[in-house]
Amino acid sequence: MNTLLRNSRTLQLAFTFLGGLLLLFIVAPIAGMYFGTSLHALTDSANNKEVQDSIWLSLWTSMAGTVLFSFLAIPFAYVLARKDFPFKNLVHAIIDIPIIIPHSAAGIAVLGIVSRDSVLGKMADTFGLRFVGHPAGIIVAMAFVSIPFLVNAARDGFSAVPERLEKIALTLGASPVRVFFTVSLPLAWRSILSGFILMWGRGMSEFGAVIIVAYNPQTAPVMIYERFTSYGLQYSLPVAALFVTVCLALFLILRLIKKQVRHVEAR
């Protein structure tokens, strides 16, 4: 235990108490949500086709965005970790922009490039692909606000891979492509996986950007909002509790996977 805390009982008590308050601040509203919902209402919601569809839509669009954009994010993260170039700090700042701007504004921005009047929108239209009001638009909106999490985590992961190991692999006759896939990527894998989880989780919970690009089909966060404004708290609670449960369950599973990966690596 830390020296400061061990040597002051008052400090230890005070800090523990304050920390406890913070935990309560997070746990209490969520617990309250469950206590405010009857089991009956919860099972009713769970059996409702509309609710099931919206939760499923949230999960798969976010996953699709994460997988699709990882093909851009992971190579880019490697470049950021390994190469110095002019205006690198500016590039880092650009990557973090989606985190700091209001998500409704992010939605407006995304709408600007995917609407049917835009160049991209017109191009997509010729292939019969629409963004606005379609899962494709939801995927883009979710990815826009959550991509920094994957890029940053993957970059940190690659930075932690000793460059010496890559050099050694080259001296053993491996091509740079093979070195990337057999040394760099596997050694950064834990960080990349945690970036995946963060991006997926952040994407599926997104409300602001998604509702502007696609009010329909409704993702779970949009449905919760719609039921709240149209019918009131009692009607939105079961859906909220259900979606939170799904989110928590997924996070628990993924954290366990991550822990197992670490365990296997540590052997």
Binding site: K167, I168, L170, L172, A174, S175, R267
Partner: protein, 352 residues
Amino acid sequence: MLKLDNISVTAGSFQLKNVSFNVERGDYFVILGPSGAGKSVLLEAIAGLRKPDSGTIHLRGVDITGERIQKRNISIVYQDADLFPHLSVYENIAYPLKSRKEEGVKDKVLVAAELVGIQDKLHRKPDTLSGGEYQRVSLARSIAADSDIILLDEPLSSIDSKARGDLRALLRRINRKGITVIHVTHDYEEAISVANKIAIMEHGEVVHVDSPEEIFKHPKSEFVAHFIGVKNFLGGSLRSISKSDLKTFTTKGLSIFCLTDAPDGEAFLMIGPDEISIANSRQATSNRNQFIGTIKDIAQARLGCEVTVDIGCDLVVTISSEARKSLNLEIGGETWVSFKASSCKIYRSGDL
């Protein structure tokens, strides 16, 4: 086999200046020098991990100065942390074979693993290995790569002394199989133990390249001369004596008793000048070695003076000026030298 011509490299504020030497096929070439002399920078330039500012490197007559790392067929073993931590011992050794899409990977891994003696650890992960085992796996991987040259960067520095002796023997065994080795170290005992050719490096320059015997007998550099022990450096052969724990070392008709567990065969013997005593007559003493000789030279040293006595070969003895005066030593005079059998250090024995 490998020819360096006027290689200069800049690494940060460090400068490697006009390095030239030849390494022949099958050589065990040691680059010896104090830390900070630029030995590792030189190795990395040979491996292609650093770009020389000027000069050329030829391998088998082909200019490889600008060749890509993966095309050079020169592999490198560092002092630690060079195995792929996420791969098993087997996968580490198989890595170069799979990189070149070779056939019979399993057999080749086994051959390399057996050569270095880690065939029972193939399924282990690198971080569960001891220091000695770790370096053996690293060597096996380079052997499996079938490199033209294996570069070793202080490969024994992070290993305890017992395992170090075994590994030196292994390195020599590998070299005797025809593998050319370039080995960087700051430890002159290590250099004597393994080298058939030594390059001395100081301040970013190679100052002397020669056989170990020449290097230590006629040091051209301060670094070598600094080791007082290298004054009395003799090449000869070591033989066991029946019913005795002593062995005899024969050189130029001289027989010297040694207390050592080194195996019989060709070897180098070294005696520290401060381990030898001088007397004006034969003494009754526990020293097994007593010789009569002629004083060839007496030179003032930083501490005391150095007396060179010819007993069939030259021995340098360090004594105090006080002792010199009381024994009345003069150049041309006769004197007795004696030293203990346990003062004789044997290097690189059992090779032939």
